[in-house]
Amino acid sequence: MRFAVVQFGGSNCDRDTWHILQEVLGVDTDLVWYKEGFPRACDAVVLPGGFSYGDYLRAGAIAARTPVMQDIHRHVREGKLVLGICNGAQMSAEAGLVEGTFAVNAYPKFLCRPVYLRVETATSPFTSRFREGEVIRLPIAHKEGRFITPPETMAALNREHRVAFRFCDGSGKVSEATNHNGSLESVTGVLGQNRNVLALMPHPERASEEVLGSGDGRRIFESMIRHVEVEG
């Protein structure tokens, strides 16, 4: 089993993600500079958080159109996993790996805080280690994280159970009071059409060790590992 974390100019959560995968979870993980491409085949790719290309044009827009993304599109077509975290989620949306887009927060401010999330589906390679309806805690750190999509797409996402996480309160109640960035239906984690891509605004790599305040994020990576073990 091998994972890869792709580094773009301006990525800044790449090494944190690598640390969790390689040093905490013991997965063989390559750090891949986007211009060099993938040195070896891998089962899962993580697009990390940060500010690729200084967020020029739109967050993730330019990284989403670099040549390495062709390899990532192929990887997705082969049914392998892609996890886009924060800036990586923005790239995933810009690249069309998931539907919708992440626009400037409703109150246009950088938000950096721990939040509660409700697990909306446990039936995915990224969430199998959770229970549906479970409330978890992960930090957010973004200014462009307001998920929006046309109503017909939102209806399809709900119908196909492709919303993975919504903002909620500590008891799991979803309301506008806990909709930190004004996302449509409080959505902050969404699955691609074949459920093998997860675009996630919160940062699981910052909550994968109890010493950092929450170990909930770790279960996202553990779900991915389990999926690769089972699916080969």
């Binding site: 739109r58 827009a61 887009t101 626009a103 246009p108």
Partner: protein
């Protein structure tokens, strides 16, 4: 021939524009009452093309493939010369 195109990217009608809202509020604090305010982004791009039509078409492709996000944006293209 060289053509300069002006591409204006703006939010589709009904889209929330938090930046415009903040600017409008700041203007209000300065005593300027406004009825409406929206923001847009302008690109001036010079390209080589066989004619005005081709220049316009190339600019449209640029919008579709990079400059605009079809989920939230609309764009206008004007060939300046």
């Amino acid at each position: 021939m060289k053509y300069t195109v002006r591409i204006t990217i703006s939010l589709k009608g009904g889209m929330l524009d938090p930046e415009a809202r903040a600017i409008r509020h700041a203007l209000e604090n300065l005593g300027f009452a406004t009825e409406a305010l929206s923001t847009a982004r302008v690109f001036l791009i010079t390209i080589e093309a066989a004619g005005k039509g081709e220049a316009e078409q190339r600019a449209a492709e640029m919008c579709e493939r990079l400059l605009a996000n079809p989920v939230i944006h609309r764009y206008e293209i004007e060939v300046l010369k």
